[in-house]
C-alpha cells in the first residue's frame, strides 16, 4: 500500500498524463529534490520556482487564465500568509468578472503539527482557507482519498486548495484501501517510483498502470461508524479520533467519526444525518480556536438542530496562541491529542441532558 505522499505523486502523474496538468511548480518542487516531502519526484512537468510565494500564486493564476492546468505548491502553509490577497483574487476573479474568467488552478500545501515543526512548520490553514470565498478546499486523511481528491481538484474548473496533512504524508491508509493500479507489494512500489538517495540525474521512475479514481468534492466519509457521539474532523485528526474512539469502545462509548474530506463545500447532509443519530457532536481540528472553522459547523448545527442536541456541542482545537512551540510538551499542549479527544468524548457521551 502506498503512503500518502506516494499517492499524491501518483495522482500528479495521472494528472500529467491524462488530465492535462501542464505545470507542477514551487520551491524545490522540481529536480533534484522533487519537493521537501518528495511529493513531486520523477514527474514530467515539475519545475523550481524562485523563492517568492507571491510569485508562485500569481504565476498559477496567470497560467490558469491562459488555459494551462497548473498545480502550484507553497512549501509550507506557514509561508502562504503573505499571499492571502492573491488567494482572494483567485477566488473572486470568476465572480468579479461576472463569469467572464474562471481560474482553474490547484494549490497544494502541507499543513498542521505533529512533526516538531516549531513555530513555522506547524501552522494549520483550514480556518484561513474556509474563509476565502470562491475556493474549494479539500484535505485527505488517507492515501486513497488523497489520490481521488487530487484528481478531482485537477479536473475542477475553479481554484481548489489541496491541504496536505504533514504528519500523515509518510503514513499508509487503513487496511485494504488500495489505489487502483498500485502494485500489491510496497517494496515493489517504492522501487518503481521513489527516487534513490544520492545522484538522481540518471534515475527515471517507472509508473504502475494507474486507473483514474475521483473522490467527489463535497462528499464526506464515515471513517468509523458509531452511535453515541459524532466527531466532525479532517486530516491528521481523523486517524487520531478513530484511535480514540476504538479505545473508548471498551468503556461502552461508541463514537462516529466523520471525515469531512471537503471543507468547502462541505457535506452538510452527512453531518446532519450523523448528528440526528447521535445527538452529540465534537469538532476536532488543529487550527487556533478563535474564529475557527469548527465554530462555523457548531454555529450552523445550533441554528438548525438546536433541539436535537442532547449535550452542548464542543470544539477541540489548537490553543489561541501566537505559535506552536518546539518541545514535546509545548506541541502536545497546543493541539488536540488522542487523550484530549478521549476526554472530550467521555464528557459528551456521559453528559446528562
Amino acid at each position: 500500500m502506498a503512503t500518502m505522499v506516494q499517492a499524491i505523486r501518483m495522482a500528479l502523474h495521472v494528472g500529467e498524463e491524462r488530465l492535462g496538468v501542464t505545470d507542477i511548480f514551487g520551491e524545490d518542487v522540481g529536480p533534484p529534490l522533487g519537493g521537501v516531502f518528495t511529493a513531486t519526484q520523477g514527474l514530467k512537468t515539475t519545475w523550481n520556482s524562485p523563492l517568492d510565494e507571491r510569485g508562485i500564486v500569481g504565476m498559477a493564476i496567470g497560467l490558469a487564465l491562459a488555459g494551462r492546468c497548473p498545480v502550484a505548491e507553497i512549501q509550507f502553509c506557514d509561508y502562504a500568509f503573505n499571499t492571502i490577497d492573491l488567494l482572494k483574487i483567485a477566488g473572486n476573479t470568476y465572480w468579479s468578472s461576472g463569469g467572464d474568467w474562471n481560474v482553474p488552478m490547484v494549490l497544494m500545501t502541507p499543513v498542521g503539527a505533529g512533526i516538531r515543526g516549531s513555530i513555522y512548520h506547524s501552522h494549520s490553514f483550514d480556518a484561513q482557507a474556509t474563509r476565502t470565498p470562491g475556493w474549494k478546499i479539500v484535505m485527505p486523511s488517507t492515501p486513497l482519498d488523497a489520490y481521488g481528491l487530487l484528481l478531482s481538484a485537477i479536473k475542477d474548473p475553479n481554484p481548489v486548495m489541496f491541504l496536505k496533512p504533514k504528519a500523515l504524508l509518510r503514513q499508509k491508509g487503513p487496511k485494504g484501501e488500495v489505489i487502483p493500479g498500485e502494485p500489491g507489494d510496497d517494496k515493489a512500489l517504492s522501487k518503481l517510483i521513489d527516487a534513490p538517495l544520492g545522484d538522481r540525474t540518471k534515475w527515471k521512475p517507472e509508473w504502475p498502470k494507474l486507473e483514474e479514481y475521483f473522490v467527489p468534492i463535497g462528499k464526506a466519509k464515515i471513517a468509523r461508524p458509531g452511535r453515541h457521539v459524532t466527531v466532525l474532523t479532517y486530516g491528521r485528526n481523523v486517524p487520531m479520533s478513530v484511535a480514540a474512539a476504538d479505545e473508548l469502545a471498551g468503556e461502552g462509548i461508541d463514537a462516529e467519526i466523520i471525515d469531512l474530506r471537503s471543507l468547502h463545500p462541505y457535506d452538510w447532509d452527512a453531518i446532519v444525518q450523523s448528528v440526528k443519530k447521535t445527538n452529540r457532536v465534537l469538532c476536532v481540528n488543529e487550527d487556533t480556536e478563535i474564529t475557527n472553522f469548527g465554530e462555523h459547523l457548531i454555529r450552523r448545527l445550533v441554528e438548525e438542530l438546536f433541539y436535537e442536541l442532547h449535550a452542548p456541542p464542543r470544539l477541540l482545537a489548537g490553543k489561541h496562541l501566537p505559535g506552536i512551540g518546539l518541545a514535546d510538551n509545548l506541541e502536545h499542549a497546543s493541539v488536540p491529542q488522542k487523550e484530549s479527544i478521549k476526554a472530550a468524548l467521555r464528557e459528551l457521551a456521559r453528559h446528562e441532558p
Binding site: G55, M59, G62, L65, A66, W95, W101
Partner: protein, 324 residues
Amino acid sequence: MLLRIHELMLEARVLEERLITMYKQGDGYFWIGGPGEEAFNIPLGLLVDKGQGVDHDYLHLHYRSSGTLLAMGADRIDSLRQMKNTATDPYSRGRNFAGHASIRKWNVAPISSPIEVQFSIAIGTAMAQRNAKGITIVQGGDAGTAEGDFATALVWASRKGAELPLLMIVTNNKFGISTPYDGQHGEVRISDRGKAFGMKTATIDGNDPEEAWAQLKAAMDYVRTERKPFLMEAMVSRLYGHSSASGANFVTNETDPLTRFEKKLEERGLLTRAKADEMRAKYTARLLEASKKVREEPQPAPESIYDYVFADENYVAETKNGEK
C-alpha cells in the same frame, strides 16, 4: 494613421468626460480613469495583437486603461454601464467600479482595484506564451512600483534560460493619489530597475503619441521576436486628479496631450480647429445618448449576488465567450 490616433484620443477624452459628468449627476458612485494618458494608451491599444489564447497578446491593465480598450474597439456604452452599475454591465454585472473592464475574448484580464497585483499575475500568462506567438503586456502606475509585486515581475521575467515575453509598462504621472513622486523614490528613472536584471528598458514621453507609437512598436517587436522582457516607463499626465474622491476637476498645470497633439496637427495642416470641434461635438452627443439609454437599463437584482461563485464542471471558456 495620425488622424486615426487623434480621433481615438479625442473620443477617449470625451468618454472620460462623460463618465465624470455621470458621476457628478449622480449616475454612478465613483469615477476613476485615464484622461491625460490618451497619447500613450491609444497607440498601445492599436498595436495589440487582439484575440483569444496564447497566440494573441494578454493584457493586464489598470483603472486608467479606457483609452487602450477603446482603441481595441470596446463598445463605448459598456464603460457607461459599469459606471451606472447596471445589470447589463458586461465587465462585472454591476459589481465593480468604473474602469474595471474584463474582456476574455480579447485576452483582457479582469482589471482589479488592488495596486500592482497584475504584475504578479502577468508572469503566468507570459509563461504560458514562452513557446507561442503572443506576448503579455502589464501596466501600472509609478507609485505602485513600490509594491513587491513589481519586483516579482522583474525577477520572474528575467530568469536566465527562462525569460518571459513580457512587456512591463509603468505609466508615470508623478503621483500616487496625493503623494508626489519626489520623496518616495531613490530611482532617477523607474525603468532603471530593469537594468540589474539584464532587461531592455526605456523611459519615454507618453504625452507624445508619435513617440509612444514608435517606442511601443519597437518594444513589442523586441518582446515578440526575442521572447524576452522589456520594461517601459511612460511619462504621462493626470488631468482630472486621482479620482472622483479628489473632485475629478480639470487641472491646468499639466500638459494636455490631446491639445498638444491637435496643435501639432494643425501646424502640419492635417487638422483644423473646426474639424476637431465638430468631432468632439459628435462624440459628445453620441455618448450623451448612450448615457440616457443606460439610465433606462435595469439594476442588478439582489439575488444576483449568488451568480458566478463557481464555474460548473461543464464550464467551457469558449462557449462562455460565444455568449457575450
